[in-house]
């Protein structure tokens, strides 16, 4: 389904999505963040600081609560996510492409009930990038495109005072049907203009990973490269790159105990981060990834080698967040290029 929507009608469309809690990027405290909106949606953001992965994979969620009276078996109560349906507006194509990658892990590979309960209630309304929103964009290097519809339910393309609206999934069609009167049929000229915008978008220069296809094999060959140490020298081991990444999905599970007698608490999943020193810490004290070099290597390899081997795609979608936000200038594009250049 392809339609035209006057920008002035966006708010009306949002208002018509009564089955959905609509979220859109809002500038607050100097950063763009997804926030619940009720109309007044202006999709003029570059990209959000955090990816929208939290809608299906929140930073913290409770699995179940437990209670145990001394001498008795514990009582567990599963806590499933509440059924709110989230429509996320303004998702950039790179973040859209993050969604199927998360699905690979939590839906295809294993059936994670918590992720899937949330996932089926999230719709992504994307916004094509007519020009790269960040100087560190490199989606084209990782099989993506500024006009990709992967992972999206609806794709919007900015055409000046109108959006070209394309339903990608059935959910997307339903959403558009909720306010069908607002949408107009695109003319041939509109379609031509869209084609031109998309062509220009793809032609826009971006940062470049030189040999993305060769990366898995070259990274495998570079496991022991001294470059890792050199490039990780400045790494401070914080969680910015992974927490902001649209595809990083590692987590930790903890029991949060509120009361010891009788025992009462809940089991909680929180995001974790392979760049934290304790990520691979064994209880023996042995840490197989004991320095920043090993941890940087893991992050890069996971994105460009291991995930590729498992699922046939790079885990990186080229959003450039980890590059822009790294406080000490660690740049995954440079890292991949340097390492791969060094091999054969």
């Amino acid at each position: 389904m392809e339609k035209i929507l006057d920008k002035k009608q966006v708010d009306a469309w949002v208002a018509a999505l009564t089955d959905w809690e609509v979220h859109a990027p809002v500038l607050e405290d100097g950063i763009w963040a997804y926030q619940p909106v009720s109309g007044a949606v202006r999709l003029n953001h570059p990209n959000t600081k955090q990816s929208p992965k939290g809608f299906a994979f929140p930073q913290r969620e409770i699995f179940f609560s437990f209670e145990q009276i001394k001498g008795e078996p514990p009582k567990l109560t599963q806590i499933m996510p509440q059924a709110a349906r989230h429509a996320v507006f303004g998702v950039r194509p790179c973040d859209g492409r993050g969604v199927p990658r998360m699905d690979k892990v939590f839906t295809d590979h294993v059936d994670d009930p918590y992720y899937n309960a949330r996932r089926k209630n999230v719709a992504y309304v994307g916004l094509a990038c007519n020009k790269p929103p960040s100087p560190n964009c490199f989606c084209l290097s990782v099989g993506g495109s500024p006009v990709s519809t992967d992972g999206l339910d609806v794709q919007l393309t900015d055409m000046g005072d109108r959006y070209f609206v394309k339903a990608v999934t059935e959910t997307g069609k339903t959403m558009m049907a909720a306010a069908s009167s607002l949408f107009a049929e695109p003319s041939a000229a509109d379609k031509k203009q869209l084609k031109q915008i998309h062509a220009d978008a793809v032609a826009h220069p971006q940062r470049k990973i030189n040999d993305p296809d060769g990366a898995p094999a070259k990274l495998e060959a570079s496991f022991d490269s001294p470059l890792w140490e050199e490039m990780a020298r400045a790494c401070i081991g914080c969680g910015i790159c992974t927490f902001l990444c649209p595809t990083c999905h590692c987590f930790d599970i903890n029991d949060e105990v509120q009361n010891k007698a009788p025992l009462k608490g809940q089991r909680v999943r929180t995001w974790d981060n392979c760049q934290f020193p304790d990520f691979t810490m064994h209880s023996s004290g042995h840490n197989p990834r004991e320095n920043t070099a090993a941890r940087l290597r893991q992050r890069v390899n996971h994105k460009f080698q291991y995930f590729h081997k498992n699922f046939g795609m790079h885990q990186c979608t080229g959003c450039g967040r980890c590059v822009s936000e790294c406080p000490v200038g660690i740049d995954i594009v440079t890292v991949v290029n340097k390492v791969t250049e060094n091999v054969g």
């Binding site: 001394k70 009361n259 010891k260 007698a261």
Partner: protein
């Protein structure tokens, strides 16, 4: 690690706890704790059968730790730790949860009291869960004692300790020992001469081979702990060598400087070089550095010139010595509450209004008037003397709340002595109550009233002022309801006893507690009346509370016996609850080293190391460390964390 097996023993303390705390509920709740294997309640846990049941329960249930929820740990922590030991487990795995003083006695809402008792008990159960078995630390004992204050209390304590064969150092701030008792004329109720009974003891102190006397000396600093104190003493220069001084008195004859004589309570004057009393020990002159023209032969040097014995040495300098002792007795005595605090009674500015001690000097044969009762203003014999009791005492609103205890007796004594000196004189005594409990005391007061015809008037004096060369006394006789007006030749005020200035100072130096009135605090008002709260520091005499001579002597003896008992041991055990470093977490930043008040931590190889002999276990290091790398054993941050959790559960 096997699971902890804690026993919780809940005491009813008769109805002391059980009346406001549902003890059965406390026991039930504690049974729900994961680590609790046994609970029991009993009416008096500290009774013989109560204690036995604890021992039995530990054995029968293979308990490894114990919580007794009862009264303050100050009372029975030792009792139950001993029981734990008797039952074969480590005594430091036994802790007390105080649900009496901190709960049942202060709350009357049973539901809320019970809830709080449960929180307190639970927090202690959680703490005990992580208590480690510890052994008390054995430390060698320095078999030597120090007595601070050379009054009758200090003299008696020093002699008693010395007679037990223990070396003792007696430190006195003034130039002679003897203290207040040496200033008294006669003592009640026997009216024997104060100096006559005291002097032999002073001489004995001087001659005793086990006593080292340090007069004109002040304690400046105390470090260490029971069994091993290090005391810094400042020896002020007397500028006179006591071994050479022949007390010929030639020096005072030539000394040009005249200053008020503090030993005579300013009733007369002395020279810059002086001897406090004829009976002074050491029998030597002292040159008052502040009064002297300059310790310089060019400026004056007269005393030095006339001293045939060559005892005077202007080059003496203050000297600080450090003495190692195992125990300390504090006997720093009392002062009288200053007359300046009593503006309605002249504020110390009215002539012929004296305090009790001044009157003692006035009638003392060795005093300023050589024992003649002459009033200071015109040196005439006073014919009408008014004695006023309870001046500053028993007056919580304005002055001291407490009863100074000895004023009733010494006022009666003063009245009798006055009549002895001035048979045709008339003595009046204003009193509130007569408190004459003590052997022969009541009879003594009665004789004062009957035999000596002293007029006792019940009531307070509202005002004193000079009138026609006399002191007009305005008062009320509350028995007749009449206002009383007396034009007295002299008025003697029985000022309240207050801790001496030195007592206030020494409490700070020794870090021992004082009570609300400033007297030195005993560890327990009934059961440990001669011990301070600091182990190894004992109290004697009026520094602890107002008391008379026999009581003072008795307390001094008691303190001495405590010292003797302590120093008869070759080793002492110290609390093992001291700091422990986790080297893995220590970065050697040294903040704990700076924070430690006892200089017990040093850095070694980039890590903090605790000197177990010096650490007192205050925990300042642990609260200062940013990385929880140092903890006090059995009071670890983990334990406190879990206690906080238990309090808020």
């Amino acid at each position: 690690m096997t699971k902890k097996r804690t026993g919780v023993f809940v005491c009813h303390c008769g109805t002391n706890i059980a009346a406001t705390v549902d003890v059965a509920k406390v026991a039930r709740e504690m049974a729900d704790e994961n680590t609790v294997a046994f609970t029991q309640e009993y009416v008096y846990m500290c009774s013989e059968p109560g204690q036995e049941s604890v021992v039995q329960a530990i054995k029968d249930n293979e308990l490894d730790s114990v919580v007794v929820t009862c009264c303050s740990p100050n009372l029975h922590e030792k009792t139950f730790r001993d029981n734990a030991k008797r039952a074969g487990i480590n005594n430091f795995t036994c802790e007390i949860a105080n649900i009496r003083e901190q709960c049942s006695w202060v709350h009357n809402d049973k539901a809320k009291g019970t809830e709080k008792a449960i929180k307190i008990s639970r927090s202690v159960v959680r703490r005990v869960n992580r208590n480690k078995p510890l052994e008390a630390i054995a430390v060698n004992v320095t078999r030597k004692a120090m007595v601070i204050g050379g009054g009758i209390a200090g003299i008696q304590a020093a002699l008693d300790i010395a007679n037990a064969g223990i070396e003792v150092i007696l430190v006195e701030k003034q130039a002679t020992i003897g203290g207040r008792m040496l200033q008294l004329s006669e003592t009640f109720p026997t009216l024997d001469c104060s100096q006559c009974v005291l002097s032999p003891k002073m001489v004995e102190v001087k001659r005793h081979p086990m006593v080292k006397l340090m007069t004109y000396s002040e304690v400046q600093e105390l470090n260490g702990s029971v069994g091993n104190f290090q005391v810094k003493v400042l020896k002020k220069p007397t500028f006179v060598d006591p071994d050479k001084c022949k007390i010929c008195d030639h020096c005072t004859e030539v000394c040009p400087v005249v200053v008020p004589n503090e030993y005579e309570l300013n009733l007369n004057a002395r020279r810059a070089i002086y001897i406090p009393y004829a009976q002074a020990i050491p029998a030597s002159f002292t040159l008052d550095e502040n009064a002297c023209l300059g310790l310089n032969p060019v400026v004056c040097g007269k005393c030095k010139d006339v001293c045939e014995a060559g005892a005077i040495n202007y080059d003496m300098r203050p000297e600080t010595v450090t003495e190692n002792v195992g125990a300390v007795v504090v006997a720093t005595g009392f002062d009288l509450y200053g007359q300046e605090n009593m503006p309605e009674l002249g504020g110390g500015k009215l002539e012929d209004v004296l305090d009790g001690l001044q009157f003692e000097r006035l009638i003392s044969a060795s005093g300023a008037t050589k024992g003649h009762v002459l009033r200071p203003s015109d040196h005439k014999e006073p014919k009408e003397v008014v004695f006023i009791q309870c001046v500053g005492s028993r007056d919580p609103a304005k002055h001291c709340a407490y009863c100074s205890k000895i004023c009733c007796m010494y006022t009666a004594k003063h009245a009798r002595l006055y009549k002895k000196h001035v048979p045709d004189g008339r003595a009046y005594v204003f009193y509130i109550d007569i408190r004459s409990g003590g052997k022969g005391y009541e009879e003594f007061v009665q004789r004062t009233m009957e035999d000596d015809d002293t007029l006792y008037l019940r009531g307070r004096v509202s005002k004193l002022y000079r009138h026609n060369g006399k002191v007009r006394v305005l008062g009320t006789d509350t028995l007749t309801g009449q206002n009383v007006e007396i034009d007295a030749d002299m008025v003697v005020l029985a000022q309240a006893m207050v801790p001496s200035k030195g007592t206030t100072e020494i409490a700070k130096v020794l870090k021992i507690g004082r009570d609300k009135d400033g007297f030195l605090a005993e560890a327990h008002p009934k059961l440990r009346p001669v011990e301070s709260v600091t182990a190894g520091i004992y109290l004697a005499g009026a520094a602890q509370a107002p008391k008379d001579i026999p009581e003072t002597v008795a307390q001094a003896g008691a303190a001495a016996s405590k010292v003797i008992a302590l120093l008869s041991q070759t080793t002492l055990s110290r609390s093992p609850l001291i700091a422990r470093v986790r080297p893995s977490h220590c970065t050697g930043c040294g903040m704990c080293v700076d924070a430690c008040p006892f200089i017990a931590i040093r850095l070694e190889g980039g890590k903090a190391v605790v000197n177990e002999a010096l650490c007192e276990g205050c925990g300042s290091c642990s609260a200062t460390c940013l990385r929880a790398a140092i903890d006090v054993k059995n009071v670890t941050q983990l334990q406190i964390h879990e206690m906080i959790e238990a309090c808020l559960a």
